[in-house]
Amino acid sequence: MSSKNEMLDKIAKNKPPKNTLPELLSFGSGERKEWLEQFSASSALNGGTTIVVKSWEEIESYLKSKFDLDKQTVSLSPDLNGNLDIASILDPHDLEKVELAILEGTYGVAENAAIWMPEEKLAHRALPFIAQHLVVVLESKNLLPDMHEAYRKIDVAASDYGVFIAGPSKTADIEQSLVIGAHGPRSMTVFILDL
């Protein structure tokens, strides 16, 4: 007998009496204004930075002041400039030297600052991990209160791959001291475009 059948047979024999599947939970409420504050606070706790802006120009000048834009910069946002054409990259290993990746987020979750990033928004799955710094732009109208609402809104299976990113790469494996930049981005900046 194959292992599969052996396992299934054993389960059929050993499983408990049938239980029913509970309804999905839902709690989300409150005001968008609150969500914005909650998002910023959660993002800071995760080791990230959230900046609320009114225009793309504000983002541009912030980026100029904080990052060395002469280094390799990939922008997947049509409104912000990079210097590396992502279409020229066929193998993700060639992203190794990327200093800054600028991406557009889809939905952001207020309770934990997680932003849903489906593969279509990444060009390469590796991009938001291999870059030294990560910037994500999110429109304030796309904030959601909690994870229940996020899964209601997003079909996570519609993309071959997708990831909730809530902050920079971090670790506390050495005596519980928080260190940002374990393998991936050493910083994550979220611009919330509040038009």
Binding site: S2, S3, K4, M7, L8, K10, I11, A12, N14, K15, P16, N19, T20, L21, P22, L24, L25, L45, N46, G47, P92, H93, E96, E111, N112, A113, A114, H124, R125, A126, F129, I130, D146, M147, H148, Y151, R152, V156, A157, S159, D160, Y161, G162, V163, F164, I165, A166, S169, K170, T171, D173, I174, E175, Q176, S177, V179, G181, A182, H183, G184
Partner: protein
């Protein structure tokens, strides 16, 4: 035959270093309090736990049907699915996949299951270079140890020791122990490994039945660095990791990180549904004793575990004896109810490594009745006649304390008060193993308070 090492004996070595024991104790308690803060912020916390528990109960009672559907959906997504009834078959599957794709360099992210299967040693013996990429796991891999905690694998080591390990293996400056400096050295070392890897092995936090995909959670992003660069992704998953619906993730992702470390979510929650074009994705479904545990009426609920580690952080015995003393892949309270099911004789003392204070059950996000199962395992151990070592252990900790009927009272309250009222004389008497170097595990005040607050209400 090798002598069975009791938990108390194994803990003794750790307890010898009083400073370290105290540090370990305090650090884990601190993580526990962070968990409390995170939980208290959510008024719906108890509803989440109840739902998470019920969903998992549904999964266990439909496990065969769900696995079949999950496999069908995953295959339709282009994921190759393999079944393994035990550790040996799991390892063999991995080996054959690696051979088929001529893989030499492997990067791994945290997987308690592969640890359980002894995969690293199996592959190393066959000449593969297997690199654990979770920082904590890399540290202990250098140090030729196994994880002492399922979420914080190197929690038993001090930074000074990690500095020494890195000096030997990565050439960092002698005596340097700054966590930022050490992490940077590991980052550079592991980047090179990621770039050169042909295959990435990951664990699975949740397998989604309805969509045939799976979710992996990390803070470091190491699972993603590995899988998105390598040509082959092998995901290893215990069969109990299923959840029926995508939206169930809302509940589990809210509970998991809060219970583990007090974070609202891990920084990366990656959802894999289909491989990159032209690349390979394998999923191995592993039994290794799980179907048997499913048949044990009193113990099957242990399969609901989502491996958050909260029961370890809160356990007075774990905090003072460290993970190694359990001599099992999963230590702490949950390990003590899983391990006897794997090998009753070897792990016969583990159900006794508990004060039955019930704090583990209080914090468990999927409401496993851990302390009740510990008590029930004691009956099984006694009936099977493996109880001499275990009984000796109970005697050592102080026959009166462990034998007190009130300790076996599952209401929790009386057990906790009993512990509180233990006379100092007994604590420091020579018959008490723990009293040798410390005092008795303090009754978990916080959880008692929680209990009291809940039960005081009319």
């Amino acid at each position: 035959m090798a002598k069975t090492i009791t938990h108390a004996e194994a803990a003794e070595a750790f307890l010898k270093d009083a400073d370290r024991t105290q540090w370990h104790d305090e650090t884990l308690w601190h993580v526990r309090t962070k968990r409390d803060t995170a939980a208290q912020k959510l008024p719906e916390w108890e509803q989440l736990r109840e739902n998470a528990s019920k969903v998992k109960e549904y999964v266990l009672s439909h496990l065969d049907e769900l696995l079949v559907t999950f496999e069908k959906n995953a295959k339709a997504n282009g994921i190759e699915v393999l079944w393994a009834k035990d550790a040996a078959e799991h390892n063999q599957h991995v080996y054959e996949i690696l051979q088929k794709h001529s893989v030499q360099n492997i990067v791994k992210s945290k997987s308690i299951l592969t640890e359980e299967c002894g995969l690293n040693h199996f592959l190393e013996d066959k000449g593969f270079d297997v690199v654990d990429t979770d920082l904590g796991e890399r540290i202990i891999q250098f140090n030729k140890q196994v994880p002492s905690h399922i979420v914080m694998p190197a929690i038993h080591l001090k930074k000074k020791e990690i500095g020494d390990i890195f000096h030997t293996h990565l050439g960092t400056q002698q005596g340097a122990d700054d966590p930022n400096y050490l992490t940077e050295a590991a980052r550079n070392h592991l980047r090179e490994k990621f770039i050169n890897a042909n295959a990435a092995i990951t664990g699975v936090n949740f397998g989604i039945v309805e969509s045939g995909g799976f979710v992996v959670c990390t803070n470091e992003g190491n699972a993603d660095m590995g899988t998105h660069l390598a040509d082959v992704h092998i995901a290893c998953m215990g069969i109990e990791k299923l959840i029926p619906r995508k939206a169930d993730l809302g509940v589990y992702l809210r509970l998991l990180a809060r219970s583990a470390t007090g974070q609202s979510i891990t920084n990366y929650s990656s959802h894999f549904h289909r491989p990159r074009s032209g690349k390979k994705m394998y999923l191995i479904l592993v039994d290794n004793g799980r179907t048997e545990q499913l048949g044990r009426e009193h113990f099957r609920n242990s399969l609901k575990c989502i491996r958050c580690g909260a029961c370890m952080n809160t356990c007075p015995i774990y905090r003072r004896s460290s993970g190694f003393s359990y001599n099992a892949t999963v230590p702490g309270p949950i390990g003590s109810i899983l391990s006897p099911g794997m090998d009753l004789k070897k792990h016969s003392t583990l159900p006794f490594a508990s004060t039955l204070c019930g704090s583990c059950s209080d914090v468990c996000p999927v409401k496993i009745n851990i302390h009740e199962q510990l008590y029930q395992w004691r009956q099984v151990v006694t009936e099977a006649g493996h109880d001499s070592a275990a009984k000796k252990w109970a005697m050592k900790i102080g026959g009166k304390v462990m034998g007190s009927p009130s300790l076996y009272d599952f209401l929790g309250k009386s057990a906790r008060s009993a512990l509180k009222l233990t006379p100092k004389k007994l604590v420091y008497s020579r018959v008490n193993t723990w009293g040798k170097s410390r005092d008795l595990p303090e009754p978990p005040k916080e959880s008692f308070k929680e209990w009291y607050r809940k039960n005081r209400k009319p």
